[in-house]
Amino acid sequence: MSVGEQFDEVLAAAQLGEDWAVAVLFRDLGPPVQAYLRARAGADAEDVASQTWLEVARGLHRFEGDESGFRGWVFTIAKRRLANERRRRTRRPTELLGDDDLASWDDPGTRIESDDAVRRITSLLPEDLAEIVLLRVVAGLPVEEVAQVTGRRAGTVRVMQHRALKRLAAVLEAEV
């Protein structure tokens, strides 16, 4: 799902504070951001998502770029807010999410299925590989944007995603 050719107009209108344009951007990126944060932040995902969108709104007038760059910029903010939340959590430890908590975040069956899939990915892969897969699959970022978000080179991202997929395949093949 993407805004497509209308992205420039939508972005310009959103930068001027047009609510319809902001709604379009949020409808496009809200679900992957929340999915990414649910997989990474657990119970604090909703708070981190709210902080992420507010920071996006505050810095929207400075953004210049295409839709792919905008997606990468939003996930960069989400990743930074997630890192801040993790530091705060280490100072004030809380219980991590369990399976029941993850399922009870919202109800729809598709969400449970999606969240379960995301949780399986994060549980089966190391953190760095899981992040690469989530950014590529859930966030829908191309390799170059993933490289910028994670601070790695594009070649490194390609190698890591290759390794992640092979590892998932091996584990799932072994389960079967």
């Binding site: 902001v22 409808r27 809200g30 929340q34």
Partner: protein, 338 residues
């Protein structure tokens, strides 16, 4: 397994462009898991509306996009252009002031500045050269309004060989007047040219008159040009040992300058200086023909002592110099008395 094929395949799998059914059998389960993770559900409408409203409020509270940098660029350009204009103006004024202070300001600029009421203090001698033709040339040569001093700061000095009587007036240090005074003081003879030349090369006049007031009571003795022209061959030979040359009776005629004197040290404007020089020249011309022993405040000058206008302060030093050069300057006091 071909690595390039794997990379392309994995790219297509991660992008969702390859369905799980078309994927290799060993990757089918992994592709299904990725497809399930990719199918993110929409955000709850209530949460979505609240989030959008908060975002719109945050955007409205923040700076407006694309106008601020545009405006700031214009502002920067305006500030820079204003600064550049001010800097250019200050630079031009400073350069003009420096040129005026060092005396390197060109004459037209000086005239313009003086016309607008800005005093330009020309420290270098401003020479007014008056060429007096020999008697053979009946018509006087046209006189340039204001001459320019040479690099040495000395104007055209009276030189018998050129049959030119030049009056060098200095606006501030009066060096030219010193030279002129020496030219008139020195007896026409073999030493005349050399003495005047030495005086012209020296900077004594500058030093001696830097703090001299303009209250010199000058006694101007004019050597007629006819007499100087006659001594030219001797001086060209450079024989300065023949003191026999004496001033002709006409040349010893002394005339007293008017109340202010022609050698005022006040910096005068060129126009005033020129008119005063003309006045003096005309007076010289007349005094050469009117011998007036009884002229008021006249100084009886012996043939061996011809003195021209000197300031009270610079006279002693110049007399010493002239004596050192073998020139008899006599013992005329400041008031003209012997």
């Amino acid at each position: 397994m071909d690595k390039n094929h794997d990379d392309q395949l994995i790219e297509r799998l991660l992008d969702g462009r390859l369905p799980a059914d078309d994927a290799p059998p060993d990757l089918a389960s992994a592709v299904r898991l990725l497809d399930a993770a990719r199918a993110t559900p929409p955000v709850d409408p209530v949460v979505g509306r609240a989030t959008v409203a908060a975002m719109v409020a945050a955007i409205a509270a923040g700076p407006q996009p694309r106008r601020t940098p545009h405006r700031s660029r214009h502002l920067v350009a305006r500030v820079l252009s204003t600064k550049a204009a001010v800097a250019a103006a200050v630079l031009a004024i400073s350069a003009t002031g420096a040129a005026a202070a060092t005396g390197s300001l060109s004459h037209p600029v000086s005239v313009v500045l003086q016309n607008v009421g800005i005093h330009v203090d020309e420290e270098r001698p401003t020479t007014t050269t008056t060429s007096t033709l020999p008697p053979a040339a009946s018509a006087p040569a046209p006189r340039p309004p204001v001459g320019r001093a040479g690099p040495s700061g000395v104007g055209a000095v009276a030189h018998p060989t050129s049959s030119t009587s030049s009056t060098s007036t200095t606006a501030h240090d009066n060096h030219g007047d010193e030279v002129s005074g020496v030219a008139h003081d020195t007896r026409p003879g073999p030493c005349h040219g050399r003495t005047v030349s030495d005086e012209a090369r020296s900077d004594d006049g500058r030093r001696s008159h830097e703090s001299t007031t303009s209250t010199s009571t000058s006694t101007s003795t004019t050597v007629p040009t006819t007499s100087t022209s006659t001594t030219a061959p001797e001086e060209q030979q450079g024989s300065c040992t023949a003191p026999g040359a004496t001033a002709t009776p006409t040349s010893s005629t002394s005339t007293t300058d008017d109340d202010k004197g022609t050698t005022s040290n006040k910096p005068l404007h060129d126009g005033r200086r020129t008119s005063r020089t003309r006045e003096r020249d005309s007076r010289r011309t007349t005094t050469t023909t009117t011998v007036a022993p009884s002229s008021t405040t006249s100084t009886t000058v012996t043939p061996t002592s011809i003195r021209t206008s000197t300031s009270a302060r610079g006279r002693g030093g110049r007399d010493d110099r002239l004596r050192g050069k073998g020139v008899d300057v006599g013992d005329i006091g400041d008031d003209g008395s012997p």
